[in-house]
Symmetry: C2
């Protein structure tokens, strides 16, 4: 009896959602009263299909700002197991299959639900994430803008030299204090590991940045882009962004670029065996840091 009572409670049912969205018509991820947000829209849809009495609460990998897009967003929620099991009704589908089908039926066209699955033990969309990968799209001539991709392409006033932008970006890699590129939040760390920051000219002539880090502080990707654009224009030297970074205080010369060029492309998690360990580690580290949630 004692032994049985001392056992850990069974792991709660946790559901992983993989999805994308066109951020154009959303006021960002985070639910806000009276505004159309991705979290609010998705939570309402889940609450409907689960017939939940309380709004379903979601935990997300990357809290995107208003206008920012996502192709590889991940979130989780913990449904009431009875409501979850009831989802297929009389059909032979699994609850996850039924949820995917019904979510696709009621979500608006600017949210694309890719997958619904029972999460592996220890999975946490936010704390188990190892890496987040963002993409930023720039056109340095207006004729490069494909009208069909105008919602995800930012036009610059001047022509850009992609080689010098890429060179400047390389100097920012590694474990650094990115305070110069972050909107400060009280008590939040701005130390991050920038794993990749590459610029290339894509086949269609636009400039694409790939930015990968363990996590991002607020407005960090858009500031990292804003820091190298003056280099590409020839107005700043190739070492300038690294100098700004070393000062570690927010620099008014760094422009926070517009949101609509930005998209969260991918969130990387450990395999199932590593998940439980990673979730525990992250929680401890973040608590010590009093860190804000990762966002862009």
């Amino acid at each position: 009896m004692d032994q049985e009572q001392g056992e850990r409670p069974a792991a709660p049912l946790r559901i992983r959602l993989d999805f994308g969205y066109d951020g154009t018509d959303f006021s960002g991820w985070a639910a806000q009263p009276g505004l159309r947000t991705v979290e609010g829209t998705l939570s309402a849809a889940l609450t409907t299909i689960l017939r939940a009495e309380q709004p379903v609460r979601l935990t997300v990998a990357g809290r995107t700002d208003a206008g920012v897009h996502a192709r590889g967003q991940v979130a989780h929620f913990d449904p009431d197991p009875t409501a979850w099991a009831a989802l297929p009704g009389r059909s032979t589908r699994t609850p996850a299959e039924a949820a995917l089908s019904r979510l696709r039926g009621i979500l608006p066209a600017d949210i694309g639900m890719r997958a619904v699955a029972v999460a592996a033990d220890g999975f946490d969309a936010r704390f188990a994430a190892l890496q987040r990968r963002y993409l930023y799209r720039l056109a340095d001539r207006p004729e490069l803008v494909d009208p069909l991709r105008r919602r995800e392409t930012v036009v610059t006033k001047r022509a850009l030299d992609v080689e010098s932008m890429h060179a400047a970006a390389q100097e920012l890699l590694g474990l650094n204090d990115f305070g110069a590129f972050c909107k400060r939040r009280a008590g939040a760390t701005t130390v991050r590991t920038l794993l990749d920051y590459s610029w290339r000219r894509a086949e269609d002539g636009t400039l694409e940045a790939t930015v990968v880090a363990d996590a991002f502080c607020h407005s960090m990707v858009r500031s990292l882009v804003g820091a190298v654009v003056p280099v590409g224009e020839g107005r700043k030297g190739v070492h300038w962004p690294a100098e700004v970074m070393r000062a570690a205080v927010r620099d008014a010369a760094v422009v926070v670029m517009p949101p609509h060029g930005l998209s969260l492309e991918e969130v990387v998690y450990p395999d199932d065996a590593g998940l439980a360990v990673r979730a525990r580690e992250s929680r401890v580290r973040r608590t010590l840091d009093r860190s804000e949630p990762p966002s862009a």
Copy 2:
């Protein structure tokens, strides 16, 4: 005196426009009273900047249907030379530069003007065109649809075998009567030369068709796609589309696919020396044929 009067009049001023559009919110290219069309919108913008008394009339390379997109559309118009010369005002820009800048200022975001130029002698956007290239995008699983590209991606109900679709498409190449794939118009020829019709699975997992011909009859690309989709589904054999074609009469079993998967990507013209010759040839041939204008 006689000699001077007998001389050909100076070639009229002809302007070439290169542009693209997101066809989602347009009722196609051709101007129609009370509807928002690409031609109507573009003509109104040109009429405004040229302060013309009569609406500017445009000739287009590919008359796209409602919902069809374009990345490489070409049109021409013949402005009053005095109004054209007045475009730069007191600036040092050329009239073409001034026109491009002012058009970009007043055109809506779903039309992207790439270039404005004085056309080479003999240029005709419609009759001088050698080839038109279209793209059609399909997703055979809903999770493949990037929410940012949902306006240009058609979702099929079943999984598709791209190899058999490509094989079926190869049997349609060459000079053929495409009457089976055209909406008939009285007195119009349906003989066309299909130069390329290829299917491939793109990097993002969607299926892309490239379709190139000298010209297209009405609904031809969307019917060519509709003819091979049942092959990809396994419902029809790989030779079925060619059999349908050989019957040369419109076949109800061929579905005209939705417009929003289609985009006019490129129009190919001869070099400047070849232009005048080509324009003369095309005009004669079309007149003999009593052919309808090329469209998709």
